[in-house]
Each structure stands twice: as C-alpha cells, then as structure tokens.
C-alpha cells in the first residue's frame, strides 16, 4: 500500500485524510492541496483512509515533492472474517474488550477515564483485530451488549454493525504501526481519521491538530438518516420520527461516531473550524472551548485582480447564481425570487452558472419553472463557465443554498467586486455581516436573507441593484473584508504558526 519509498527524513506533519485528497476533487481536497503547496518548507506524510478501493482509482492531484510518504488504507472488507483461526492463539483481554464495547456502543454516558483507557489500549495494541473478530471474550461482550440494550430483533444485523464499526478502527490502528513517526499529527476530520489521530498521538506523544471543514459527526447523522441500507423493521416504517423510535442500528451508528468524535476532541489541541457556528457546534459536541479556534478559508486575490479590473462602470442589472444545479443550492427559490425582481425591474436578468448533469431531473424542473413563471429569455442557464469571465458581468451574486459551510464563491465574488445576497446558512451571515467587532465595523458585503424565502430574496436584490450608494458600500466592504480576513497567505500563515508551535511543543 505504500507508494513513496519509506521516508528517510522525519516528516514534519502526518496528515490523516479520510476520503479526500488526493483522490477526490472538492473543497476539502483543494484546501489540503493549497496547504501542502503553500508550506513548501515543511515535509508531510499522508495516511489516506478510503471506504472501498474501487472508489478511489484515480488521483486528481499531483503529489508535491514535500510529501515524503503516502500510504492508503481501505476500510471495506476489514470486518469480513478471514476464516476461522484454528485455535485461540492468545488470551484476549476480557475486561478491555468489554470496556471497548461499553464505550463505543452502550447507551450509558461513558466517563473521560474510560475513553482515556480505550485510547491507551489502542495505542499500545493491547486489543487486536483478531481479538475482536474471533475471541470468546469479544463474543461475550457483544452478546452482553445485545441482550442488555439492543431493541432491534436481528442479532446478525447487530453483529455485523459492530464489526463494521470496530474492525476498521483496529485495522487502522494496526496499519498505522508501520507509519514513520512524524513531528506532529494533523487530521482533517473527526471520524476514523480523527480517532486514529488520537491513537497515534498517544503512541507517539506528539501534538495533534484537528481541522474540521464540515462537522463530520453531523454529516454522518444526515447520511444515516437517509441511509437505505439499514433495514427498516415493519414497525419502524409506521413510527413517527421521534428519536427513541429510530432503529437501534441507526442509533448505534450515531452513537459510535459521537463517541469517537468525542475521543478526537479530547485528544486534539488546537481544534480548528472554518467559522464561529461550527466552533460552537464542536463545543456542543464535547470540544474544550479553550482549544477551539476559527481559521477561515482563504483565496488567492491575485487570481481575481484581473476580473476586478475588467469590471465596467456602474451596476450591470445581472444577478448570478454560481453553483451546480442541484436541490441543495435551491435554484428554484432563486428563480421565484427573480420573478419578483423582474416585475419591478424589467431590464434585470438572471444567470444560473453551473453544470446541470448531476441531477438532471431537478434541472428539468428548474427549466419548466422558468417557463411557467414567464421568465424565458430573462433567466438563462449558462452551464459550466469560467467564473473569472462571468464575475465582471454580474451586478450581484445570489446564494440560495439550504446548506453551506464557508462558501468560497462569496469570497471570490467579493474579490472580483461583486456584492452578495445569501441565505442564512453556515458561515454566510458571519461572512457578510462580519464576526468580531472590528470585522463588523467594515459594514455588510451584501445581504443575508432567510432560506427558501423568494420574497425576501427579491427585496434584498432590488434594494442593492436600485440603490447605487448601498451597492458601492457593499462592494467596498466585500473587497476590504476579503483582503483583510480571507486571503490565502493569511490562512497559510496561521497554519504555519500552528504547525511551528505544535512541532516546537513536541520537541
């Protein structure tokens, strides 16, 4: 599984990446790429964790020269028994296995000491994958948990669920034994990567930095709520959505991610989030407020300088939504809002800029909505375009998403001189209105409206388009804010400092 030759130099930072760089394109991956490229004076080792090997066939990013070691491990299959071992080869640690089950799966709230002991056991390798998979002690721990707590009938499902949770953890802990020892650890999520970070920190005694873009545990909860692979009992389909009625298997999964998330938060210092809302969420999930910090994403301003310079005088009556045409972007609310805008301001136009192939059904619905609202020729679908060419032609950028973290497109719009109207999701309000007092003092870089509210969105758009004074103020604020708080050099500088501090403390 090793790719680069074993590191001859001690890597400065061991990056623990779950399902992102270098295999998957996306916000987190490009951020990782930015980080590695932006800090060429540091060396990195990469421990990549994927679900199934088949899903990660092609690397989308070139491996920079300062990545001195990269290895990848896949969770799928770790829980499939490899055939019965002939005889119990070693005495499995009975109490440890029971504690492991109690901590990860039982409903009673575990104590900090229990978590600590668990991380110790993983770090020292006192519980092995074979112990968990085959030992009698493990069987007793599993059946005890099943008999005491499980409210779903199927024992087979319970067993496989536990296997699918624990086996990857133990497999990773064993795999990471051969990892070259770095000066510090940096995980880009909680979950399996974060848990591994906690284990490796204990084993190596170095500092462990955690950065979260989204909130892993929350995202898993959303995934699980929609997961169809969890068998629904006949009764469950009839029940209401109350938490107590959720199938026990679902609750097991949620509990598992919460508990390993908790262990990650207990181990990591500092704990980084992209914006204050996520920081509060981390604290609510058990992170120590004293360790939590916000480091927003940054963009490279030089890239948008050109777009800013090409801007014509005045305010073009063009409103743009930049994003994929998918339900999460709520393009329909944007179209409905434009009905109101165009009624009041007939010369206005709306552009939807982004690929439509991801959810073709939804895209077709959007097109027919445009027709039924009589907006043909006014709302245009431009497909995928270079943002740099589009931004100078826009008078306003609109974001109607129902979920975002810290959308880079807002920063990019500002850098190109476009004010933004956004729904109140993720960090959008913090971005547009400012977070800390001196940031707020800069003013607003546009408007924030409630989600799925076409009337309010239309009012906010008109208020900016028809009021050049306000528009200019918003443009100035956006430019000033992105320059002061959201540049790539700033982001890199903060991480450089964190790294140096963490490495220094380790020495």
């Amino acid at each position: 599984m090793k790719d680069a030759p074993a590191a001859t130099v001690t890597p400065d930072v061991c990056l623990l990446l779950e399902g992102t760089w270098p295999y998957v394109r996306g916000g987190v991956s490009s951020w990782v790429n930015q980080l590695i490229l932006g800090l060429p004076e540091l060396t990195f080792s990469v421990f990549f964790i994927g679900g199934q090997r088949e899903n990660y066939e092609k690397r989308h990013y070139a491996i920079p020269p300062n990545v001195v070691h990269i290895e990848e491990h896949f969770l799928a299959g770790s829980w499939v028994p490899k055939g019965a071992p002939i005889s119990p080869r070693r005495q499995a640690p009975v109490q440890l296995l029971r504690d492991l089950h109690a901590f990860l799966h039982h409903p009673d709230e575990p104590s900090a000491a229990q978590g600590d002991a668990l991380v110790d056991a993983f770090a020292q390798g006192s519980v092995t994958l074979d112990d968990f998979m085959y030992s009698r002690a493990s069987w007793e721990a599993i059946t005890e948990g099943y008999e005491r707590y499980c409210t779903d009938p199927s024992f087979v499902d319970y067993l496989w669920t536990l296997r699918a949770m624990q086996a990857p953890l133990l497999m990773l802990a064993e795999a990471a034994r051969r990892l070259p020892r770095p000066r510090m650890i940096h995980s880009i999520s909680t979950g399996y990567a974060g848990m591994l970070g906690a284990i490796l920190q204990r084993r190596w005694g170095c500092n462990f930095l955690l950065s979260e873009h989204g909130i892993y545990t929350k995202e898993r909860k959303i995934d699980l709520a929609q997961a169809k692979w969890i068998a629904e009992g006949p009764d469950e389909a009839l029940r209401t959505g109350l938490d107590v009625d959720v199938s026990y298997i679902r609750r097991l999964w949620i509990r598992f991610f919460e508990r390993i998330g908790l262990l990650t938060y207990k181990a990591a210092d500092p704990i980084i989030s992209l914006y204050d809302g996520n920081r509060r969420r981390q604290i609510q999930d058990g992170a120590d407020p004293a360790r939590c910090r916000v480091i927003p994403n940054g963009i490279s301003l030089t890239q948008w300088q050109d777009a800013l310079e090409r801007r014509p005088e005045g305010v073009p009556p063009v409103v743009g939504l930049l994003g994929r045409v998918v339900p999460i972007k709520d393009v329909k609310t944007f179209i409905r809002a434009m009905r109101g805008v165009i009624s009041a301001m007939p010369e206005a136009e709306a552009w939807v800029v982004g690929p439509e192939d991801e959810d073709e059904e939804y895209a077709a619905e959007c097109h027919s909505l445009v027709t039924s609202l009589g907006l043909e020729g006014k709302v245009k679908f431009l497909g995928f375009q270079k943002i740099g060419d589009i931004l100078p032609k826009l008078g306003l950028m609109v974001l109607t998403s129902i979920s975002e973290a810290q959308p880079l497109v807002i920063l990019e719009g500002w850098a190109a001189g476009v004010p933004v109207v956004s729904s109140d999701v993720g960090s959008c309000r913090e971005l547009i209105e400012g977070s800390i007092p001196e940031d707020r003092a800069l003013g607003t870089g546009g408007s924030v409206v409630a989600i799925a509210d076409p009337q309010a969105t239309a009012r906010a758009i008109l208020a900016l388009l028809r009021n050049p004074g306000r528009w200019q103020a918003a443009q100035r604020t956006g430019l000033a804010r992105v320059n002061r708080y959201y540049t790539e050099p700033l982001m890199l500088e903060r991480y450089r400092e964190l790294y140096q501090d963490a490495i220094g403390r380790s020495l």
Partner: protein
Amino acid sequence: MAGIGFELRKILARDSYTATLRAYVYAGLISSGPWVLSIISVMLIGVLATGIVTPNVLIRQFLVTVTYLMASSLILTGGLQLYFTRFVSDRLFEEKQTSILPNLVGILLLVTLVAGGLGFVLLATLFDQPFAYRLLVLANFVTLCDLWLVIIFLSGMKAYNRILVVMTLGYAIMIAAAFMLRFLGMNGLLMALLLGHAALLFMFLYDIIREYPADRLVAFDFLDRKQIFLSLLVTGLFYNLGIWVDKFVFWFNPLTSDAVIGPLRASILYDLPIFLAYLAIIPGMAVFLVRIETDFAEWYERVFNAVRGGETLQHISQLKEQMILAIRQGLLEICKVQGLTLVLVFLLAPQLLAWLGMSHYYLPLFYIDVVGVSIQVVFMALLNVFFYLDRRDTVLMLCTLFLGLNLALTLLSIELGPSFFGYGFTVSLACCVLLGLHRLDRVLDDLEYDTFMLRH
C-alpha cells in the same frame, strides 16, 4: 440426504402405525439395504452352491473373494462417496441440477479407470488363478466401485417403491443367476454376482438419468481445486479402513488365518460372526435415518434459518435447545432400539448359531461383535450430526482415531488370546463414541459463538 428427510416426514405425517412402519422400513432399506442385502445374498448363494460346486473349498474361495471385493471397493471409494455426496448437495443448494449428472458420469468414468487399472495391476501381479477368474474379479470390482457411488443418490430419490422394486429385482437376478450358473462352479457364482450388481447399477443409473436433467454429457467440475474437500476424501478413506482394519489384522496374522485363494487369506474364526452381526444393525440404522433426517434435520434447518433470517439471539438459542433435544432423543432412541435388538440377539444367538450349523465356540465373539456393530450405528449417527454442523475436522479426527485404535487394540487382542478377539473393534468404537459425544457436547455449547464469530 436432503431428499429422504422430506419424504420420510411426508410418510410420518400420515400418522398411522402402518405409515410409521413404512417409514422405518424404507429408512432401513436405504441406510443399510445394499450392504445387508449383499451379505444375505452372498450367503444365500453360498447355500445354493453347497453340494453343486464341489469341492466345498471352492465355495469358501468364492465367499472370501466376495469379502475382499467388498472391502477393497468400499475402501477405495469411501472418500469419493463422502466427497461426491457433498458435491451433489452443494450443487442442489446452488440449484445447479444440470451439472450433477455430467459430473456423475465424470466420476464414474474416473472410478472405472482407476479401479480397472488398479485391479488389473493387482490381479496381474499377485494372482496366478485362471484368466476367467481374474477377469470376473476385475469386472466385479469395477462394478461394485461404481455401484457405491450411484447408491449415494438413493436417499435423494423420491420414488421409494421403485427403490424397493429395483433392489428386489437386482438381488433376485443375482440369486436366480447363481441358481442357474452354479454348474459352472466358481466362475458361475462370480458371474451371478456380477450380473446382480450390474443390474442394480444400471437400473439405478437409469432412474438417475431420468430424474436429473443434464446440459453436458460428461463434466469434471468435481476435480476443481477449490471444490475439493481433501479432508472429506481422507475422512472417507480412514472411516472405511477403520471398519476393515481389524479384519485385515486377523486375515494376515498366521495364527488366526489361512490362505484361501491366491494371496487372499481369511480367518474362519473371526469373519463369520462379524458378518452375521452386521445383520443386527438394520433396526438401529432405520431409527437413525428417521430420527436424524427428520427431527434433527428439521430443527437444524430452523436454527440456521433463524441465524440467517435475523432472529434474536434468544430465539436462536431456544431453537438450538430444541435441536439438542432432537439429537439427544435420536441417539437415545437408537440406543433403545439397538439395545432391544441386542437383547433379542443375545437370547436367540445359541439357537441361531445352531440353526446355521455354527459351533457354539463362536458365541462370545458373536456377542461382542453385535455390541460392536451396535455402537457403530451410534458412531455413524454422531458423524452424521457432525457433518450437518459442518465439523469436518471433528469427523476426520474421530475417523483417524477409530482407525488407529482399531488397529492397535486388535493387535493387542491377538496378543491377549482368543477370549479377547473382537474386543479391539468394539472397544475402539466405544472410545470413539464417548469422545464423539464429549465433542458434540462442546460443539453444541459453543454453537452460537462458533457460528457467528468463526464461520459467519
């Protein structure tokens, strides 16, 4: 043996004395039929030949030749029988019925070639009998080897009346042929034997060909590496060797045996009681088949359907308790019926032996042999349960132990003198059954752990 359980259950479901009796008769026929009927027929042939085939030593030569034919064909094909039974039931489970017949043709081809080649070499090198004798022995050997493989399908067949008819017909042909050909002496008797077994072989084959559709003429899928269970081959070999090893010890010990024909030796003292004793296992075998294939198999299915079907652990454990109960009752019933048979045989033995014209010196050996073969029924039932639970390792261990113990204890019994003859066989079986019961206890105790953690 999936088919027979189903059919037996159907008959038993009629819930009348005659239906129950019929179920047991069928079960007895299928489980011990070919084996016991062969012994009876061969003895009958011996009786028919008396006075016609002279001198009398020729009849003895014939009987010993048949015994060696049986022993060697069973030992040679024992492993294949087990292995091919498993192969067929796996294909049935996969619902690949069409590949069964081509593979049967394939394995018969292989067995015919191997048995023919081996027989040819042995007969050419070790025997100096007339050509006709050697040819007939070779033909009989190959036919028997093939027959043992075809008989696997008996339990899967649904037309029980037909099995009854075929068996009656086959053995009738054998005896009738012996009656007509006895004037040819030894060769006539061997020819009758060949005719009878060949008739059985081809009639059963005819039925199988009618019942199973085929997509090819011949196939050798059973030789695929991954489908071969080497342990099954070894198990079958050791089991059959185990059954015969005490006889071989007696045959090749100069003190207890004499040369009969060519290199073949026999032990007058040892052989007759044990073959007679085998007639006493019919009741036990019938009960064994009915109990194991109906009650136990039914609970076994329920347990493993519950495992796969996502039942609660508690429910699975309850079903397992029921399955254990079925095993216990089955074994107990075998013991009861076989015990009763034993008592009857003990009571009637003196008259029986007198009636057969055998000396009462045989009595002690006959008694211990009847006990031995009765234990053998329990042993077979245990092995079958282990096969159901897919504990091939345990079966192999027990069969290896049986072979080793039977060899060692039989040698010891010869050292100890005539009053200990037969104890080697019986004591080794008793040891294996005790150990098997102990293992079964452990296996059943750990069934859930084993099923879920080690085999799931």
